[in-house]
């Protein structure tokens, strides 16, 4: 560790030891929209030194005094060449013009997988790719596109869950404009919470995390949203099979203040209403039920001057399930001539979702030092409410007395997190050989893991006697306050012309329930350039995570419970090493092959037999902690230039778990495959865009079947003397060799999508036709034993039960229409 800090010190001192240089700084933007360009290259042809723009489109390049031949480029845009004499610090902003020739193709400039970058295990995914990938219901989805990358696995069929390099779905840090988001799924995980219309840039880090990222073990998905066009008003509307989206962006004050808003809402509930009405005709019950989700993004950007900008972002997304059931007046005969009237009203409401609001202020302190200050508030909630009112009245015709019995039940389940974040980040470019990032953040978390409320009220009047009784109780109302703090420093260092290294450390701490968990997380990744196009990269990252997601279903459920590290539950941590070769094969494609090994500690699982539904104990009593291993090889061939683009990704991997601590034993303490351990995972994505009027895409995925736990043997048991006092043989017990002991059939699916674009007088319309699961493969969603359905095995043995699979998505064609102006 000492040596590591010595190295950091050397890096810092070298950075300050450079003299007789001047610094160029500024912002690179799209000339048509004014959007800042992330990852644009700024290169001096004379010295060969260069840099790339940060996530705010800013660059800083310190060069020796003298003639400069600056080249500013970003793939998909015309390159700007600028020659001048550098004799003082200068602020130079450049506006790049989209290239008409390249406009037809989807390309990117700076790719973390690029052979020359020191970053490894990272992928930048162009938004155009995301919009082009064919998906379920034709609804462009950020996470579905990310799932097609090597090293990333989806959960169950159609799910937007992400399992990166053998990690769990809670081990991914989703940053929306730099602010963490908790629930990133809608509709049980079939759709992600990110509206692709609002997104500008997406980068996925699967390992070798730069030190400025912290808080999760397995991946970081860094999403930046659009600032908004600062020249003129633009917008669009899209009507799809399941949702409608709108977006609008433009200047509030031209070239100074912009806005961008987008919204999406599903309408399955609206379509359902007429059918519910028809279904309840002629019955005593009026029903109103439905489900929908929505999300809303808004962002306002204000440029005070070239050195100072303010961004205010807002995101809100919710899923809502509701049901109301009301009986009509229902007169029922009771004793003798008496008649009673029975009424019942039931309501169910279930809401879950995020709210994120943030304000960021960029300020260029000097040409070499750039600062960003962020204040953010995040709210995640998961609220269930159930109410029942029943009123029964009857008249005693003998006495004329009106009697009644009334019951009111209100039950609720609430869970959620409130985060308040303060953060400051600095980019320091002392010279072209060093790009230093440092900063710190503080998050105050308020966790409300489980609060259950139950209120029961009973009122009764019989004759002249009134009785009232009831219960009003709240369980588990234990709010947990926690403080998370983090500081980091990293340097992207060109050591020689062939060796580049990113070295840094992330220091974090978590204070909860009187206990403090510190963590020093070294990060290191390096590149050796073997030729102009070929490099070898290797990296190491130690990561710590202070949050857990308790989940025991195969799909992303709103019941998945975010819980913090506590005085009893220790933080998760992971060591990951990765190494690989990267080759830029001209304009043909980029190739990479990467191997990784990851060891994870204190992973959390539900105990055997436990689930969210059990209310007998608190969540801490239902969980156990264990270890995990994952290792594998990833291959990626990606073409981003030309009419044909796309990629082929393949992953060979293995992920295991072991829970063997006393009292926390799972699967007999033996090592068992993780829930989403898959040996093979292949994805092929092809996109074709010959002109501005038409484009098409095709994707095919194949992966080893998900694992499932099947009790392959049943055996007799005796039971304890509970009810009758006799010891007797009861139902058979189920014998598991180990958890996840059975493989479902392999999963494969082909999707296709075509877009027809037409320029109209006021904009462009697009018809999209998508087909999900083109050859109608019946992929297993879950498998289970079905009794009473005989099965003859391949060896001729006849069994009384059979194994069946449930497939949920057959071939699904969809059509959507969108209009942009």
């Amino acid at each position: 560790m000492k040596q590591f800090f010595l190295l950091l010190l050397m890096v810092g001192s070298m950075a300050f030891a450079v003299a007789q240089n001047y610094t160029l700084s500024g912002t690179i933007i799209d000339k048509e929209t004014g959007e800042t360009l992330i990852g644009a290259i700024v290169l001096d042809g004379n010295s060969g030194k260069g840099t790339i723009t940060n996530q705010y489109g800013r660059y800083s390049l310190t060069l020796p005094k003298g003639q400069v031949a600056l080249r500013v480029s970003f793939v998909g845009y015309n390159t700007i060449q600028d020659t001048f004499l550098l004799s003082q610090n200068r602020s130079l902003n450049y506006s790049l013009v989209p290239s008409m020739m390249l406009n037809a193709v989807v390309v990117q400039a700076e790719r973390p997988t690029d052979a020359k970058s020191s970053q490894m295990s990272a992928i930048s995914i162009p938004v155009e790719h995301i919009k082009a990938v064919p998906v379920l219901f034709g609804e462009a989805d950020v996470l579905k596109a990310v799932q097609l990358m090597p090293g990333v696995q989806s959960g169950s069929e159609g799910s937007a869950g992400m399992y990166v390099r053998g990690g769990g779905p809670d081990e991914n840090l989703f940053l929306l404009d730099g602010v963490p988001l908790y629930n990133v799924n809608h509709l049980g995980g079939f759709f992600s919470a990110f509206n692709s219309d609002a997104v500008k840039n997406i980068t996925l880090y699967k390992g070798s995390f730069p030190a400025h990222f912290g808080g999760r073990l397995s991946s970081v998905l860094d999403i930046t949203t659009n600032n908004g066009n600062d020249k003129k008003l633009h917008g669009g509307v899209s009507v799809g099979a399941i949702a409608t989206k709108v977006y609008l962006e433009g200047p509030i004050i031209k070239e100074k203040t912009t806005f961008s808003v987008s919204a999406r809402r599903t309408y399955a509930d609206a379509l359902l209403q007429p059918f519910l009405g028809i279904a309840s005709l002629g019955t005593d019950v009026a029903t109103n039920a439905g489900y929908y989700f929505y999300d809303f993004n808004a962002k306002v950007t204000h440029k005070f001057n070239d050195r100072s900008r303010l961004f205010v972002s807002y995101y809100m997304g919710d899923d809502k399930v509701y049901a109301r059931l009301k009986t009509r007046d229902n007169y029922i005969p009771i004793f003798g001539d008496d008649y009673g009237n029975e009424k019942m009203y039931m309501k169910l409401g279930y809401n879950w979702g995020n709210l994120v609001t943030s304000a960021r202020w960029n300020y260029e302190i000097n040409p070499k030092l750039f600062m960003n200050v962020t204040g953010a508030f995040t709210r995640y909630r998961n609220d269930l409410a159930f109410g029942l009112e029943s009123m029964y009245t009857w008249t005693d015709y003998t006495t004329g007395a009106v009697n009644y019995a009334e019951t009111k039940v209100d039950m609720s389940y609430n869970s959620g997190i409130h985060d308040m974040t303060g953060r400051v980040d600095f980019d320091y470019n002392p010279n072209p050989d060093h790009t230093v990032k440092f900063g710190a953040y503080f998050i105050h978390h308020i966790f409300r893991p489980e609060v259950m409320g139950a209120k029961v009220e009973m009122n009764e009047q019989t004759g002249f006697v009134e009785r009232h009784d009831g219960v009003d109780t709240t369980l588990g109302e234990s709010i947990i306050h926690a403080n998370e703090m983090n500081a980091y420093i990293e340097d992207d260092w060109d050591i020689t012309s062939t060796i580049k290294m990113n070295v840094g450390a992330n220091l974090s701490g978590f204070a909860v329930q009187g206990k403090f968990y510190p963590s020093i997380q070294p990060r290191l990744s390096g590149r050796v350039l073997l030729s102009d196009d070929l490099s070898f990269k290797a990296g190491y990252a130690y990561t710590t995570q202070y949050l857990h997601l308790l989940s025991n279903s195969n799909i992303s459920m709103p019941t998945d419970l975010w819980v913090p590290v506590t005085a009893k539950v220790s933080p998760m941590n992971a060591h990951q090493v990765a190494a690989g070769f990267f080759y830029n094969w001209g304009v043909i494609c980029d190739l990479s092959i990467e191997g990784y090994f990851k060891k994870m500690n204190n992973l959390m699982e539900y105990k055997e037999g436990a689930s969210f539904w059990g209310a007998s104990t608190g969540w801490e009593d239902k969980v156990c902690l264990g270890e995990g291993w994952s290792y594998g090889v990833e291959f990626l061939a990606q073409r981003t230039v030309g009419q044909f683009t796309g990629w082929i990704g393949y992953t060979l991997s293995r992920a295991d778990r072991k829970f063997d601590k006393p009292g926390q034993v799972l699967s007999g303490g033996e090592r068992f495959p993780a829930k989403y351990d898959r040996r093979h995972d292949l994805s092929i994505v092809l996109m074709y865009k010959p002109n501005d009027r038409f484009d098409a895409s095709l994707s095919w995925v194949y992966c080893t079947g998900n694992s499932a736990t099947l009790a392959l043997q049943e055996f007799e048991s005796f039971d304890t003397p509970e009810y009758t006092g006799s010891y007797y043989y009861w139902d058979p017990l189920q014998g598991y060799d180990h958890r996840n002991n059975y493989r479902m059939p392999a999963y494969h699916r082909m999707d296709a999508s075509v877009n027809f674009h037409k320029k109209l007088k006021r904009g462009t319309q697009t018809w999209n036709i998508s087909v999900y699961n083109l050859y109608n493969r019946k992929n297993p969603y879950i498998i289970y034993e079905k009794t009473g359905t005989p099965y003859v095995s391949p060896n001729g043995t006849r069994y009384g039960s059979s194994l069946v699979q449930l497939s949920i998505f057959p071939i699904i064609p969809s059509i959507s229409y969108s209009f942009k102006f």
Binding site: G663, T720, S807
Partner: protein, 358 residues
């Protein structure tokens, strides 16, 4: 527009049509294993039941093993088991607390299976007290018996307990002797069990603190430690090791009398409709509450806990619960070979309300 809505609705409808398809079972159809079920009671002959496990898709009944060669090693001395019938075997030896037992079973065509256990010492209980509680909430009267006692845990060994309570009455025959039923002690009380759903309210914050006092992770006891389904409460001594621990619980009391099978009743009676019946209603004569404190061997404890968990999963259906591995100690097979010893304590109950007016 109509067509558009028709198309949209059709697409949504198609999307949510689920499809259930029988699939082949890929993999080895695992061979049946020998299952041993033997609940050894101190001072009772050792009995066991052997059967074959079955492939999970099979709906055939379990096949009892009638041709097994079974030996029981007691403190180094080997004895053979006698076949009784239908997979049941007995060794006519009555183990004592402290005995170490190992069973070996050989069945033609199968590998030998074996298991070992140690008969635990009888639990030490003192200061048993009974308090009768009558409550009236305006609707009905509830009668409860609160039983308090001190459990004196032996620090020198790791102990596992199961406590239960029941009511006995002189109207019942006090003992039943069974000869052919396996997994039962030779002699048991004929008892009226308290109602399953109203059975225990254990007032023991140390053992049944469902909040956060239990030490879920470090204490390593939580769900593995206790279960109180039905009429028993199973726990270990992780939190009370070597201490004299005060315990108390409340038992709902069935007033007046009880239904009981004819063979365990003293005398003959009629059912509530006035007819002779197998099950008859009997008035209490001299009801007593019995506290049974059973010491379990480690193997039996983990087996029983896991059986409870597999059968009583959190969400009832098991759909969302994690699978539960049964903690078998039979090497090469399934089942359990475990031992227990019991201590009984009695106290009279004298509710005035219980006395049926004649």
């Amino acid at each position: 527009m109509k067509k558009i809505f028709l198309i949209i609705f059709s697409l949504i409808a198609v999307a949510f049509v689920s499809c259930e398809t029988p699939i082949d079972f890929y993999g080895d159809e695992t061979d049946s294993k020998i299952t041993i079920n033997s609940y050894v009671h101190a001072d009772s002959t050792v009995s066991m039941h052997l059967s074959f496990s079955r492939f999970f898709l099979s709906s055939l009944p379990f096949q009892p093993i009638n041709n097994a060669e079974i030996t029981l090693d007691v403190n180094g001395v080997t004895q053979s088991a006698n076949f009784i019938s239908n997979g049941d075997y007995k060794v006519y030896y009555k183990p004592q607390p402290g005995d170490t037992l190992t069973i070996h079973a050989n069945v033609a065509g199968h590998d030998e299976v074996y298991a070992g256990t140690r008969v635990p010492k009888t639990a030490s209980v003192s200061d048993m007290r009974v308090q009768e509680i009558v409550t009236d909430n305006g609707y009905y009267t509830t009668q409860k018996v609160k039983v308090s006692f001190t459990l004196n845990d032996d620090a020198s060994v790791h102990n596992y307990y199961c406590i239960r309570a029941y009511i006995v009455d002189t109207a019942l025959s006090t003992e039943i002797t069974r000869d052919s039923v396996t997994n039962m002690p030779d002699t048991t009380y004929s008892k009226v069990y308290v109602h399953e759903n109203l059975s225990y309210t254990l007032e023991d914050v140390l053992l049944v603190d469902n909040g956060s006092g239990l030490g879920a992770i470090e204490g390593a006891i939580e769900n593995d430690m206790y279960s109180y389904y039905g009429n028993h409460f199973t726990f270990n001594d992780d939190k009370i090791n070597g201490r004299s621990h005060q315990m108390s619980f409340e038992v709902e009391y069935i007033p007046h009398g009880f239904y009981v099978s004819e063979d365990s009743r003293v005398g003959k009676g009629k059912n509530s409709y006035g007819y002779d019946d197998d099950y008859v209603y009997v008035d209490f004569q001299n009801p007593r509450i019995v506290l049974e404190v059973e010491s379990l061997s480690r193997e039996l404890y983990y087996y029983l806990i896991s059986v409870d968990k597999q059968r009583n999963q959190d969400d009832l259906t098991g759909t969302f619960s994690e699978p539960v591995t049964i903690q078998c100690n039979v090497k090469g097979g399934y089942g359990v070979f475990g031992a227990s010893s019991k201590a009984f304590f009695e106290a009279s109950i004298n509710f005035e309300l219980n006395k049926k007016k004649k």
